[in-house]
Symmetry: C2
Subunit: 204 residues, 2 copies
């Protein structure tokens, strides 16, 4: 089981690291021993929106062979959603069975066409921007699970999304043990919406 | 106001990024316009405990001129707390007015002598290890504020510590606005202990 953590200039580091921590514990805590991951970028150099430099493992290589992709948000998404070369690269993730985003990362999934006909969420400041890309913008759930695509709200929802995916992949006990190791007292407070659930009234 | 984010091999990235996000918003959201920071390491190369590579801004340079130091935890601390060269370097932070740690980062503050006669906390798995370094290990507060030294519990307490320090530096409104921008619904749930507060009964 192979995960691509997509990184790009002016992303928000916590969007990425908040989901990276619980997911990678699937390996370090031996729930999914063959769980592995790479940091995938479209450019050689990547800095977050506050100057922290990241070193990608792959540059501009297709994303098609991964089982999971994770797309963080950040101010960089505002330009990247209109960057044809970047979005074409992101589209190489079309066959990936589980596409996920945190915060405004959903604008990138949306621009790549992955949210068409689906419900999705994003940072509360970007609900209007997400609208053209999806069927319904869900505003009252921290995580929106549409099966092949799972989107989360702003920045710190990255941790809740990570724990949600841990449970989806390895079950409730794995989630509880990983949350405990992360010393996370807010586990299971966050509301999530599953594929089968009816569309809530509070939406854009 | 200048912050040193101390980074080292086999640290836990979320310990660092969870406090880095709220603190650096003091600048990006204009609460402390002259707030700035550097990533400070003792070695040229730094990878977290799961392979993510970080690029330090300074290597083996004294930490004495900073106003705040932030020390994350992670498995790397278990060896580093006994690494004389590293601890001697960390001791250069002695004049720094606000020394903070997340998770087992407190073992490093402790080994450097910064917890002597003070109350402190750490990841629940490391309470016993912290004991020799401080006066009292506090087990029932997420954040322990001893004035010049503030320690937090495990991994995800990094976010709570960051918001706590935002409030200490810039007040309640700054904290509320930064927590909102971080889309953090758990703001102000965490218990913290202040310098004046009596020692609680639940301690080691």
């Amino acid at each position: 089981m192979k995960t691509a953590f997509v990184i790009f200039d002016r992303m928000t580091a916590l969007d990425l690291i908040g989901i990276y921590d619980p997911l990678t514990r699937l390996k370090s805590m031996n729930f999914v021993p063959d769980f592995n991951w790479q940091f995938c970028a479209f450019t050689e150099k990547v800095s977050d929106d506050r100057g922290l430099r990241f070193a990608p493992d792959t540059v501009a290589e297709p994303l098609s062979a991964y089982d999971i992709i994770v797309v963080p948000g950040g101010f960089g998404t505002r330009a990247l959603q209109h960057d044809r070369a970047f979005i074409q690269w992101l589209r190489s993730a079309a066959p990936v069975k589980l596409k996920t985003s945190v915060c405004t990362g959903s604008l990138l999934l949306g621009s790549a066409g992955f949210l068409t006909g689906k419900r999705a969420t994003t940072h509360p400041n970007a609900f209007e921007e997400l609208k053209p890309y999806c069927e319904t913008v869900v505003v009252d759930h921290r995580i929106v699970d549409e099966g092949e695509v799972v989107t989360a709200q702003g920045v710190t929802s990255s941790i809740d999304l990570g724990l949600y995916l841990v449970e989806r992949i390895s079950g409730r006990e794995a989630r509880a043990r990983i949350a405990k190791q992360m010393d996370y007292p807010y586990n299971e407070i966050a509301r999530s919406m599953s594929p089968g659930e009816p569309i809530p009234s509070s939406r854009l």
